[in-house]
């Protein structure tokens, strides 16, 4: 049984009020949601935000139509809530744009066997503005115009931050 199959069955059960099924959904997805919260909010806000996300998902389960994977739907709910929460908390992160292009590493990183894990760790080190755009675009699949709307920035700013984030990550991963 794939994770999608397990999710589908547990969504049906949880929509019927089954806490155990919802806990299984939570266990399967909490790690990614927690990282999202840590990357998009201050780490001190992350735990509360994760709880809010899963409570919101519980309340909205009956609206999940099953036309996409549950994980995809969950992440959309999570991103919307996390971004709104940041606005509510008055977190207006400085989205610095630097003309400075990171020093380009000479060595290639594409052969690293631990690349996925290394990227996850390196994302933590990115400046807030670059990190938010990288997480939303490259990790969550949002388009620049969607990110612009979510973060109240210009689409051009989103593109610049994304490029900067990728080059910073490359630099970080090559060291």
């Amino acid at each position: 049984m794939t994770q999608a199959d397990l999710d589908r069955d547990d969504v049906l059960l949880a929509a019927g009020g089954d806490h155990d099924a919802f806990e299984r959904l939570y266990r399967r997805h909490v790690a990614r949601v927690a990282s999202l919260a840590r990357w998009l909010l201050d780490p001190g806000d992350a735990d509360d935000a994760v709880q809010e996300v899963f409570i919101r998902v519980w309340q909205k389960l009956h609206t999940f139509a099953g036309q996409s994977a549950f994980g995809t739907w969950l992440h959309r709910v999570a991103v919307n809530l996390l971004v709104r929460r940041r606005q509510t908390l008055g977190r207006s992160r400085r989205r610095e744009i630097s003309d400075e292009i990171p020093v380009l590493a000479a060595a290639g990183i594409s052969e690293r066997p631990d690349l996925r894990v290394a990227i996850e760790r390196a994302v933590d080190t990115l400046p807030a503005g670059a990190r938010e755009v990288f997480v939303l675009h490259d990790m969550e699949g949002y388009k620049h115009h969607e990110i612009a709307e979510l973060l109240a920035v210009d689409p051009g700013t989103s593109r610049s931050q994304l490029h900067r984030a990728r080059l910073l990550l490359r630099q970080q991963l090559a060291t």
């Binding site: 069955d9 909490v30 735990d47 000479a106 996925r116």
Partner: protein, 234 residues
């Protein structure tokens, strides 16, 4: 290496360059090993990023979440479970503590479920939106919401419609999924029956009223989610 071209590598990867800029960059990549390596690295990052596994919170949040899910649980009614204290005769109840009967509570749920039921008829192409919707959710007025018979009839009608959709579409779901749904529905029905029997012995028990309403809402939500899953596979 050229800053001009390096700055375009992300846009190139994302397919956002116009034809002319893309052609120029492709020509440059044929001549510049540094830019070619950089592009390969960025491509690897972009390919790996969506597969992140994430890191669990430092402490387990589930217990806190479970507590906050409130009365949404399907709760079997057991004699040992204490109900809330009864109000003393003649005691003044604060307006915010007004207790709704289970039939009033479920009437509100029916309205929500009926909307979904009507939408499913449309999604499955089995009728016009008006006909099934009207059958499930007629115009509601305040006196009707207070009418116990109305709540019973409308709940039964909503369940009947959704069960019909489920029966018609069950072959589109895995047998294990159908089994899961049926087991869950049976469990909810048992909880409703148990609570209904209990409330006959204790008609003023607000806790029992809330449990009946919650479990009926669960049943409608489960049926609606199941029919949505069928529609998604149509």
């Amino acid at each position: 290496m050229s800053d001009q071209f390096t700055g375009q590598l992300s846009a190139f990867l994302d397919g956002e360059l116009d034809d002319l800029a893309r052609a120029r960059l492709e020509t440059h990549l044929g001549e510049c090993l540094d830019c070619t390596r950089t592009l390969a690295d960025l491509r690897a990052i972009v390919a790996a990023a969506p597969r992140y596994q994430g890191q669990e919170p430092a402490r387990d949040l589930w217990q806190d979440i479970a507590r906050r899910l409130g009365e949404a649980e399907v709760v079997p009614i057991t004699p040992s479970r204490p109900g809330p204290p009864r109000a003393q005769r003649g005691a003044v109840q604060p307006s915010s503590n007004r207790r709704f009967g289970w039939k009033e509570l479920i009437a509100a749920s029916i309205i929500m479920a009926a909307v979904g039921g009507g939408a499913m008829w449309v999604a499955l192409g089995r009728g016009t939106p008006e006909a099934p919707f009207a059958a499930v959710a007629p115009e509601l007025s305040a006196p009707q919401l207070d009418n116990a018979a109305f709540a019973d009839q409308q709940f039964d009608a909503a369940v009947r419609d959704l069960e019909l959709l489920l029966a018609q579409g069950r072959d589109r779901l895995d047998s294990s999924t159908v089994r899961t749904i049926e087991q869950s529905l049976a469990r909810i029905d048992d909880a409703i029956l148990e609570a209904r029997n209990a409330i006959q012995r204790d008609p003023a028990n607000a806790y029992l009223s809330r449990q009946i309403a919650a479990n009926m809402r669960r049943k409608l939500n489960l049926l609606r989610t199941a029919t949505q899953a069928i529609a998604a596979r149509t």
